[in-house]
């Protein structure tokens, strides 16, 4: 056994773990953070977009030295057809503000920086160390951890589980279940390198400006999923992800889906001549509000992906992760400063604070969305995108057909694919889930 005792042990050094460790250490708690990767960021995969507001709440002047790629001034939503896309673009010079709202980042670099801040704040960060087990006392209270290194257990008042999406540690200790295939998406991505000027020309940006494309439709072949393309400084991240249960059912492999996405005539010209230097895959929690497990207990709290805190509709994961990490850190600090023990009832403060934040409010708003999109995936990800793209072509193509007839054809294509009742039903269900 190791004699030394910590106020808190944080398991994992992703966004949630770093936020929790930083928040507690900077408030003077004695924190040990354990990470299985060679360094913070070496195992962490994300698109990746950083939302400044949530980062500011942790490190207000992060822009001074954090490795940021491009600030986003344009967002494109593409509904993909076989050879086409119907797009909604929003671009605004307002996003060229002094303190931009969103940035693309490369996690391997950003997390390394974040981890250096955690160290500066006074936390002890130990990498290449996997926590294998939670140590519980006779009453089931979590009192420390065991690692894959020799030298025995390490004890702490509270363990913050920021172990990532699979959450094996918590599952092994019986604190929650391993996520079901319907609750996680498998995403694959590649980093395509090309000269900075080429990115600027192709995406109509200059300097540090960036653009993103979020794509859904026929590219996921009827599965619940999305593709994306994010501009970094000298490379473009391109990826696609679908629910694991859908992959199971369709037998399609993620990399074939990505290959097809890259070959799509709307995407291929954007990537032409680039060099792939990196590829990665990751699971994303997609279960939403209804999949959130128990968030605290005797001597432990769970944050980030391990707690299924991800807003799939708005593609927000890391900011929910870092916010939950920060809130957990603040709650633990409050309990500690009152000199109260880290019991479940005292740690429920974390849940209360999280419930009051945008994290749970947003997830609650979309609580029915994951199920709806999943059950209706054929309609929402294949039929409708095809119909919309066909309708757009019909609208744009000039071929001597009277306009009145064109309209009739479009309406008919919708009603024959989905009956009037089906169309209204889908619209109603979507509206209700959105509300």
């Amino acid at each position: 056994m190791i004699d030394e005792r910590f106020d808190a042990i944080v398991v994992g050094a992703g966004m949630a773990g770093n936020a929790a460790a930083y928040t507690m250490a900077s408030r003077g708690l004695k924190v040990l953070q354990l990470e299985r990767g060679e360094y913070s960021g070496s195992k962490n995969v994300q698109g990746a977009i950083l939302y400044a507001d949530m980062m500011e709440k942790i490190i207000p002047d992060f822009r001074e030295d954090a490795p940021l790629e491009r600030h986003l001034i344009e967002q494109r939503f593409w509904m993909m057809g076989e050879n086409s896309h119907t797009g909604l673009h929003y671009r605004s010079d307002d996003f060229n503000e002094e303190k931009p709202n969103r940035y693309t980042i490369i996690r391997a670099q950003f997390d390394k920086w974040f981890s250096s801040k955690v160290r500066e704040a006074g936390a002890l960060v130990v990498c290449e160390t996997t926590v294998t087990e939670l140590v519980q006392d006779a009453y089931g209270k979590v009192i420390g951890v065991k690692t894959d290194r020799g030298g025995g257990q390490i004890h702490a008042d509270v363990v913050v589980l920021a172990e990532g999406v699979t959450g094996l540690l918590g599952a092994r200790a019986g604190l929650r279940k391993i996520p079901k295939p319907t609750e996680v998406a498998l995403a694959v991505k590649e980093m395509h390198f090309m000269p900075q000027e080429v990115i600027e020309q192709r995406f109509n940006v200059k300097g540090n400006e960036g653009a993103v494309i979020e794509a859904a439709g026929t590219i996921s072949e009827g599965m619940t999923g999305m593709g994306f393309l994010y501009t970094n400084r000298e490379c473009v991240s391109v990826g696609i992800g679908c629910l694991v249960s859908d992959f199971q059912k369709s037998g399609e492999s993620p990399y074939t889906l990505l290959e097809k996405f890259k070959r799509h005539p709307s995407i291929a010209p954007l990537l032409e001549g680039s060099e792939v230097k990196e590829y990665a895959a990751h699971l994303i929690p997609e279960g939403g509000f209804k999949s959130i497990p128990q968030l605290y207990g005797e001597g432990w709290v769970v944050v980030g992906d391990a707690a299924q805190l991800n807003n799939a509709i708005h593609r927000e994961g890391s900011n929910l992760a870092m916010t939950s990490g920060r809130i957990a850190g603040e709650a633990i600090f409050q309990v500690k400063s009152r000199k109260d023990p880290m019991t479940a009832s005292n740690l429920s403060l974390y849940k209360k604070m999280l419930d009051d934040s945008f994290v749970i409010k947003d997830l609650k708003k979309y609580k029915d969305m994951p199920q709806l999109l999943h059950i209706q995936s054929q309609n929402f990800f294949l039929t409708y995108p095809q119909l919309v793209n066909k309708a757009m072509q019909n609208f744009v193509r000039v071929d001597g057909t009277p306009k009145k007839e064109k309209e009739k054809m479009t309406v008919k294509s919708f009603t024959s694919a989905r009956s009037w009742a089906g169309l209204f039903g889908d619209a109603f269900k979507l509206a209700r889930a959105w509300r």
Binding site: E4, L124, V126, E128, G150
Partner: protein
Amino acid sequence: MHIVVCIKQVPDSAQIRVHPVTNTIMRQGVPTIINPYDLFALEEALRLRDKFGGEVTVLTMGPPSAEDSLRKALTFGADRAVLLTDRFFAGSDTLATSFALATAITKIGETWGVPDLVFTGKQTIDGDTAQVGPGIAKRLGLMQITYVAKIAEFDPADRTITLERRAEGGTQVLKSRLPCLVAMLEATNEIRRGTMVDALRAARAEVVKWNAKDAGVTDLNMCGLKGSPTIVKRVFAPSARSEKAKFIEAGDGGNLSEALIAEIFSRQPSLEADLTALARGF
């Protein structure tokens, strides 16, 4: 007992790329590792310390980022780490490197006790010269034992060490007085994982950082580019072999081994003559 282990941070050879025009190694963006040969030296030093007591100091010269390698060495269980870093050291060849390291080892000796043993790896995987270890030994007036496959005996009272040295045609068993410098061969041991206690200590440890002056270097002309007489005239990648692999098929008799031997003999006529002569002798 005090053991100094010299390590080097090198680009991970598994992920290395060669610049297509200059033929030099592209170090930027390539992950770094501790030179794998040095890990055998470090493990051997740690084993001696565990058995006979004392301290292990790891030493490296390199850019500030080389601190990562030292911290890793601390996680394995080293007691102290010294980073020799100064722009005056930039561009050092093996002569200047061994000068700087030897000077630093003298300083380490003055600060924490004269080392009984200095360990190095056989060579580094980026330079492949195997010159720095012997260079250090010569400058410090130490016995040098290179290509060491095994430490057979260590007698702290008698202040001797017995080692097995791999030499051409066999193994030499050598006994040396202390202090001496040992350059370890590969595959002699396996680096340990380091316990949680080591990991915690390493996370807290301060790596000692010395510039040229701190290390006791008085003549800067011996350092870096100025102190490096080596001139690289040309670097080139070996061209691809023009000879193609040949597929050998069994002849009419259907005997593949005979066809293979016939093919070898057709290229090495003297081998056929020798073997025939040998066979006649029986």
